[in-house]
């Protein structure tokens, strides 16, 4: 075997054998929902790989050129160099289109699995001390993923993404005091500018990904240091870990999941067309206003913000010296409140419940009806905003006026979360009382939650 000499060679220079043997024997608790975070990581790897490939062909420039590539309908059309290079890499670079589509799909799945991962951590109380710290890192990663998705989508400089950036411009303008300076600082002047593409490019391929890599490393290092949580069950306590070892069981499982995730993204990228920019045409400053667009939809993770803009009644605060424009409420206030509360939740909960203990055993959603109710309320709130983001499409499907749909959603966005909260909380309580258990749950009857053991060191807890 070659492995032993190599290990000896390495250990002579680096040391660290005790760490590696401990790492190989490390135990990972097993539950399907613990794999969600891994899928996020694998999507990120795919994003970096395909993004790098695309970077070899993409020209991040807003200068005007005339198209003469192989897509006949756009021959002779004026467009930005960025849009042209996106067309070229779709039609004239071999394997370019499949790479671009895999990249786009990976971005959608990246954010989607992040949200599901977050929901799992939320509903099982996985964010409680000591993992409240990592929750903050995770929420930041979600914000960055959404921002970078939006930047990447806008880079192609097609008509549809141009509309998205236009909305982003208005939301920036709506920020009190700083708005116009923020917008002019981001775009290099009054929107739309030629600087937009190169600026978004450096943010999309360097600045934001670098921060993501840094925080992802912190996120994983903290998981490694604090070790996984586990669900309660026979033989599982706050002070042990029941599961499979890193080598080989966990490594095989994780490796398998990696390949299956990438396989799924490749299949989507090959078979499911996404963002056919050639059908939208180029975004050309000014002249883009002459093109009629309707049913313009952003990527799914921006849909709730668009919905919030659409649902906001036509109010705005206007005084002689200060204006709070209408998009402020849907575009600035709603996301700020949402993410602010998301960041603060672990600390708010600890304060409400006076819970200062460390937790390694997860709760099932029914174990904490109030929290699960909040989760359901937030999910339904999000769902209504998301659907409201396509009120025009829904109006077309159901053949009613968009205003009626909007009026309905305005009611639902208040009523549905309240109902979801009450209903879910009640359901959780009844499930608790019934003693019904999921069929496949390992471990059989659950022991009564143990009282938190006294900290032997006293005084150093917190």
């Amino acid at each position: 075997m070659l492995i032993r000499p190599v290990l000896r060679w390495l250990d002579d220079r680096v040391g660290g054998a005790p760490f590696f043997s401990k790492a190989l024997n490390r135990v990972f608790p097993d539950h399907w929902s613990f794999m969600l975070g891994e899928i996020v990581l694998y999507c990120f790897i795919v994003l970096v790989a395909t993004g790098t490939y695309l970077g070899f062909f993409f020209e991040p420039s807003g200068r005007e050129v005339v198209y003469d590539g192989s897509f006949a309908p756009l021959q002779g059309v004026e467009m930005s160099a960025a849009y042209r290079s996106a067309l070229d890499l779709s039609f004239d670079v071999r394997a370019g289109l499949v790479m671009r589509q895999i990249h786009h799909w990976a971005a959608l799945v990246f954010v989607a699995t992040m949200v599901v991962h977050l929901a799992r951590v939320f509903l099982t109380g996985g964010y409680r001390k000591p993992r409240d710290l990592n929750w903050v890192v995770g929420v930041t990663l979600l914000v960055l993923a959404i921002v970078n998705g939006f930047l990447g989508y806008s880079l192609l400089d097609d008509l549809l993404s141009g509309t998205g950036v236009r909305v982003a411009n208005a939301i920036l303008l709506a920020v009190p005091f700083l708005g116009p300076d923020l917008a002019f600082g981001l775009f290099g002047g009054e929107f739309p500018t030629e600087d937009l593409v190169p600026r978004f490019y450096i943010l999309h391929v360097l600045v934001v990904p670098a921060i993501i890599v840094g925080l992802l490393s912190v996120h994983l290092a903290l998981v490694w240091r604090q070790k996984h949580t586990q669900f309660a069950g026979e033989g599982r306590t706050e002070t042990n870990l029941v599961g499979e070892r890193l080598w080989p069981a966990y490594a095989m499982k994780a490796g398998s999941l990696f390949f299956l995730t990438v396989a799924m993204l490749a299949a989507l990228g090959g078979l499911a067309q996404i963002n056919p920019i050639w059908a939208y045409g180029p975004f050309r400053s000014g002249l883009a206003t002459t093109a009629v667009t309707s049913a313009s939809q952003p990527d799914w993770y921006m849909g709730w913000l668009d919905g919030a803009l659409r649902l906001m009644p036509a109010w705005e605060l206007r005084t002689e010296w200060f204006t709070l424009p209408n998009p402020f409420f849907g575009g600035v206030l709603v996301p700020s409140l949402f993410f602010g509360l998301l960041y603060a939740y672990p600390f708010l909960e600890a304060r409400w419940t006076h819970d200062r203990h460390r937790h390694n055993l997860l709760q099932r959603p029914r174990d904490n009806p109030g929290r699960t109710g909040i989760g359901a309320a937030v999910a339904s709130f999000y769902l209504v905003l998301f659907l409201a983001g396509s009120n025009d499409v829904l109006a077309g499907v159901f053949e009613v006026a968009p205003e009626s749909i909007t009026a309905l959603f305005r009611v639902l966005v208040i009523v549905l979360p309240a109902a979801a909260f009450a209903l879910t909380r009640r359901l959780c309580r009844e499930l608790q009382a019934s003693g019904l258990r999921p069929i496949a749950e390992p471990g059989g009857p659950r022991p009564q939650p143990e009282p938190e053991p006294e900290d032997p060191r006293g005084g150093v807890r917190r």
Binding site: V175, F184, E403
Partner: protein, 286 residues
């Protein structure tokens, strides 16, 4: 298990060869995606099957079961090491001098760091010009001819119900985009103070929606309403383009126009108020 895994890996191998063949033959997106998925999926399935087998029926004698229990060490350090950290910091602090001297110099350091931070903020200004009046003005001036594709528009060319997107001369910057609509002059009911802005029922409004700045692209002649496709704000063309439904709160600004001696549509001035989406000091007179 062995047989299924071997089949999966064989499919993977064949798909990889197929992928190379497709690429050499000129590429085909669907085939590339499917073959790549088969390559990766085959390996994934094989790894999964093998991993699932651990601790199962084929367990070698003496091998441990798949599921094991390990200790979870307490996270916090003992009181001793914690105290050591504090003591080490103190030791360094003492080495830096007496308490009052440290505090004295410390303040200077804090001031210097603050000043550096402040100075480092200034280059942010280079990222974009100060907005100044840019949000309050467009390229329209007194006498600017309304053009389509650079050609001036003759008032006589617009019948009742016609709608055009026009720009001032050769300037096609977005904030100048304007919709020119001919309506029945008798039905026109503009706000006071706009007399003479709409010769013969020819009205010109900013095309940039006052909600978030999308082009107000759809004109419904039957209702005389302009509709923004982004968030469904509608504006009543006959009544100064005031918002009728949707999230927009402000009327589309109206461009005062007239018709010059040669019959072309020209502006009387720039818009009198900022066009497009709002901003915090919009109502302040500069």
């Amino acid at each position: 298990m062995e047989r299924s895994a071997a089949v999966a890996l064989t499919i993977s191998t064949l798909a990889a060869l197929g992928l190379a063949a497709v690429y050499i033959a000129g590429g085909q997106p669907q085939a590339e995606g499917v073959l790549l998925a088969l390559c990766l999926g085959g390996i994934g399935v094989a790894l999964g099957l093998w991993g699932k087998d651990i601790g199962g029926s084929h367990r070698e004698p003496g091998a441990e079961p798949a599921v094991v229990t390990a200790e979870r060490p307490e996270l916090p350090s003992d009181a001793g090491p914690r105290a050591d950290v504090a003591a080490s910091l103190d030791r360094g602090g003492r080495a830096l001098g007496r308490h009052d001297r440290r505090r004295f110099l410390g303040r200077f350091f804090a001031t210097a760091a603050g000043a550096l931070g402040l100075a480092a903020l200034f280059p942010l200004r280079s990222l974009g010009p100060a907005p100044g009046g840019a949000l309050r003005h467009t390229a329209w001036r007194e006498g600017s001819r309304a053009t389509v594709d650079g050609r001036p528009v003759r008032a006589a060319d617009l019948a009742v119900g016609s709608v055009l997107t026009v720009f001032p001369g050769d300037d096609t910057s977005e904030d100048s985009a304007t919709v020119l609509i001919r309506v029945d002059p008798d039905r026109l009911d503009l706000p006071a103070g706009r007399e003479g802005w709409a010769p013969d029922g020819l009205v010109a409004y900013s095309k940039i929606c006052t909600h978030v700045g999308c082009p107000v692209g759809l004109y419904q002649e039957t209702t005389n309403e302009l509709l923004c496709p982004c968030h469904q704000s509608t504006f009543d063309v006959l009544r100064g383009a005031r918002p009728v439904s949707g999230p927009a709160t402000r009327s589309l600004p109206q461009l005062p126009i007239t018709i010059d001696d040669e019959g072309f549509v020209v502006a009387q001035s720039d818009y009198e108020e900022p066009i497009g989406a709002g901003f915090w000091n919009r109502e302040r007179r500069p």
